[in-house]
């Protein structure tokens, strides 16, 4: 069984294996397929028409399945690898070990945002940015400039306290847990982290930055925490909603998996924090 660990607790060997597996997927072309898929959904998910990956109830199960696909691809390279998660409410500065040269590398330089250290720096030669919206082929970041502060634990807790999963109109205007976690409304958790990192992470091609997976693994963990806090709560909507993935409807691009199949993460992986 895969155990997803807090990135701050990884050993040097775990970091090395994770990075090597990510770079192997980049080299064989599979990595860029994930970037391309994400951008296609980002550009087509809209508030007033079909929406699946974002700004909709299926934001959480869609990303859960997307991360499962990525994690399985990593494991096809190195079966010991699991996706780590980044608790940005705790590791909230540029000095976090996450951004050290032995893991993801740090922020970009002031002149052009280019990341200059770590395994994903353009200078290392292993990380061409191929699926892109502009001419720049190097990984960029601008940690803490687009927005100054990452969410706090108190802000996270305030969102976990929302008892209803999602509400009509099932989009970026919704009240409820999903949209507050996604960040279009309220204190803004998930969206704000993308803005805080900057560079490609602030764009539709955000999976170009490997921190995308660690960010979403924590968003996914917060969904699990919310479920434990609200054991009676259910995924909504339950059926018959135009343009929106209901509980028992299949999700694109897979067309063989429903939110209902993804509600229980323990079928696929556990977290290092789970009580035995």
């Amino acid at each position: 069984m895969t155990v997803r660990k807090n990135q701050a607790a990884l050993t040097a060997d775990e970091k090395r294996r994770f990075v090597a597996a990510v770079i192997a997927l980049k080299r064989d072309g599979r990595y860029d397929g994930f970037v391309r898929t994400h951008n296609a959904f980002i550009m087509s998910d809209t508030d007033d028409s079909e929406r699946t990956g974002h700004r909709s109830p299926s934001f959480l199960p869609w990303h859960r399945r997307f991360l499962l696909d990525f994690e399985r691809a990593l494991q096809s390279v190195d079966p010991s690898v699991a996706l780590p998660y980044w608790d940005w409410s705790a590791d909230r500065t540029v000095r976090a070990s996450l951004w050290a040269p032995d893991f993801l590398g740090g922020t970009g330089r002031a002149s052009d945002g280019r990341v200059t250290d770590g395994p994903f720096a353009a200078s290392a030669g292993d990380w061409p940015v191929n699926v892109r919206v502009d001419g720049r082929t190097y990984l960029r970041r601008s940690l803490g400039t687009g927005v100054r502060e990452l969410p706090t634990r108190a802000e996270v807790d305030s969102v976990l306290g929302i008892a209803t999963y999602d509400m009509a109109p099932w989009n970026s205007a919704s009240d409820g847990f999903r949209n507050h976690l996604e960040g279009w409304r309220g204190v803004n958790l998930h969206n704000r982290v993308h803005v805080w990192v900057g560079g490609q992470m602030a764009t539709g091609v955000s999976p170009n930055d490997p921190v995308f997976w660690l960010h979403h693994a924590f968003v996914d963990k917060l969904w699990a925490e919310w479920q434990r806090r609200h054991p009676q709560a259910v995924y909504l909507p339950g059926g018959g909603t135009p343009d929106v993935v209901d509980l028992n409807e299949t999700m694109k691009p897979w067309n063989d998996v429903r939110p209902a199949d993804l509600l229980d993460h323990t079928r696929f992986y556990t977290f290092d924090t789970q009580a035995a």
């Binding site: 508030d47 720049r136 204190v187 602030a202």
Partner: protein, 129 residues
Amino acid sequence: MPGPTRRRALTAGAALAAAAGAAALLAPGASAAPHSHEGSLEPFDEVYKGRRIQGRPAAMDHGTGGHQHGHGGGYAVFVDGVQLHVMRNADGSWISVVSHYDPVTGPRAAARAAVDELQGATLLPFPAN
């Protein structure tokens, strides 16, 4: 409302002019009202930080390859002639593919945010390769 970001602060009217110096040749109605409805958005055409940004209802695109999927509420935005994918949120705010998680007040603000983000780089036609 999402927490304020520096970019949002910078695009708040008067602060923008101060921040951008004389880079923007401001046209009337410098930013779209937050709750403009489809069809009521005015076209714009200005040079911002040395780059031409334009926006217009997609209906005004006479076969110029304007994106018609309605993601921008039927509105098309261009940076130096290359179309920028924009999207209108349910609350009337806007985002673009280069600033996708940080809503701003309108398509012109989205175009300016894109120019800021690009730092001189060429926008590529979408969809991304």
